[in-house]
Amino acid sequence: MSEKKFKNIFIEGPVTSAFVGESIAKHSAQTEIGAHSIFLGQVRKDVIENKTVAAIEYTTYKEMALEKMHQIREAIFTKYQLTCMHIHHSLGMVKAGDISLFVFASSPHRKAAIAACEEVVERIKTELPVWGKEVFEDNSYQWKENSITSKLSNL
């Protein structure tokens, strides 16, 4: 029952494109970086049984999610030669067309940045205790399920 504080990855509402631009700009002083790999998850306006998704409302088990994210981060930094990695996930309402996930991996070389970014995205989708409620335009809703959910397990 450690009370260790892990780095927060959650923000209220969408990730803005301006925030992404500013995050990129901050890296120009880190001149050992040769490659940035960025993943952005955008809320799709899916149509499900004639109802259109207006937004996804995200909730999390924050204490567990931040501890899990910390473990994922440590594993990725051990595996890949990264200069830095930044992760931001939305909580609350994110409208269709807006961004709910921002993963940003930077490395001297492209292969490490690309592979690390991809692996983190996969692990976030399959291991992070976050839930999305798809809210339709008529205010009804359904709970989203990512395709693979069995990987949530003890490390």
Binding site: T59, L101, P129, V130, W131, K133, W143, E145, N146, L152
Partner: protein
């Protein structure tokens, strides 16, 4: 002598709550039996149990002060 049970995602629709408290069951098998009696709909749902933020894969002893979480299929990202 209680444990805290955190409820997430679609399971909150069954519990009408994000958190309940119960007298400490001996282990997670006993807890599940009790929950399925209290909330029959839960028995049909797919979910994992985490004890103190660690998901479990077999029956686990519970003690006072434990935090149990019920985790339905994930959908982050």
């Amino acid at each position: 002598m209680q444990i805290k049970i955190l409820v997430f995602g679609q399971l909150t629709d069954i519990f009408n709550s994000r958190e309940i408290r119960l007298g400490v069951p001996a282990d997670t098998n006993n807890l599940q039996a009790e929950l399925h009696t209290l909330y029959p709909e839960l028995a049909d749902k797919k979910y994992l149990i985490a004890v103190d933020k660690q998901t479990i894969s077999s029956n686990t002893t519970l003690t006072e002060g434990c935090t149990v979480a019920l985790l339905p299929p994930l959908s982050g990202g």
